[in-house]
Amino acid sequence: MNNLHEIIGLVFIGFGLCFDFFGVLGLVRLPDVYNRLQAATKCVTFGSAGILFGVFIYKGFADFDFKLLLGIVFIFLTAPVAAHAIARAAHRSGIPLAKETVIDCYKDDNELKEK
């Protein structure tokens, strides 16, 4: 079994692609910008990290190992921050929430703006 790591790597890449696909599907199907961000942050983060990790295992000890791992770390650090910034900006510029929405505490507190 000298190509076991290649099989495991391909499995990880396959999982990553599946989750990326679910993320894109969610982006199309979910109603408003906030729900779409949910799909975009979770699935795409996990999917892209899965692809990078799959390549890391597939290639064994190549000289770009460190870059792949650093890429995973940066995806996990930056994706939530970007989602937060987009959601906050959308809410502040008055993008309405989907009609299924049950509660909006952020609007009730006047979006934390000073009087």
């Binding site: 942050t41 983060t45 937060h84 909006d104 952020y106």
Partner: protein, 168 residues
């Protein structure tokens, strides 16, 4: 040595190691360029890294850091599975809402970590933080309760307890 200088030294070493990892240790030009870049980075932004003067019980914190990492990995996997199931469901059973939770964490860095962890876990997305009242505004894709205490218990506490040990 003041706290800012120590922070700068730590950032200098870390950024140099990252630069070396990205290039190669054998090339003298890369080593020198890495030193220059690391010096620039540590001069410009190095003083943010450490903020408390004393680091106590370092091994305990590293241990809790590892626990946090695995807990986080578990929650991220669960989150992805749930969102994937939701997206392929033909009726889209969503009940979105923006709720508030309270946090007991004090430092900026730990609140940032909590907010990022919440964003990457099942169905929740941090929208804003109120630093005065220590409240987080969270968009929840499947709102089960509107009570602030209940929401804090469901969303925040699983990370808060571990983060308290790691960062505070």
């Amino acid at each position: 040595m003041t706290i800012k200088t120590r922070s700068r030294v730590v950032v200098f070493i870390l950024s140099w190691l990252v630069y070396m990892g990205l290039t190669s240790f054998t090339d003298l030009q890369e080593v020198l360029a890495g030193l220059v870049v690391a010096l620039l980075v540590s001069m410009l932004a190095g003083h943010f890294y450490l903020s408390s003067p004393k680091r106590q019980r370092i091994f305990r914190r590293i241990g809790f850091g590892i626990i946090y990492f695995f807990r986080f990995l578990l929650e991220v996997t669960k989150a992805n599975w749930q969102v994937a199931l939701l997206v392929v469901n033909p009726v889209l059973p969503i009940k979105p809402g923006i709720i508030k939770i309270k946090t007991k964490l004090k430092k900026d860095s730990s609140i940032t970590m909590l907010a990022n962890s919440i964003t990457l876990t099942p169905g929740t997305l941090t929208i804003d933080v109120n630093p005065k009242e220590k409240e987080l505004y969270i968009h929840w894709i499947n709102t089960t309760s509107k009570d602030i205490e209940e929401d804090t218990r469901i969303i925040g506490e699983k990370f808060e307890k571990i983060l308290m040990e790691v960062v505070e």
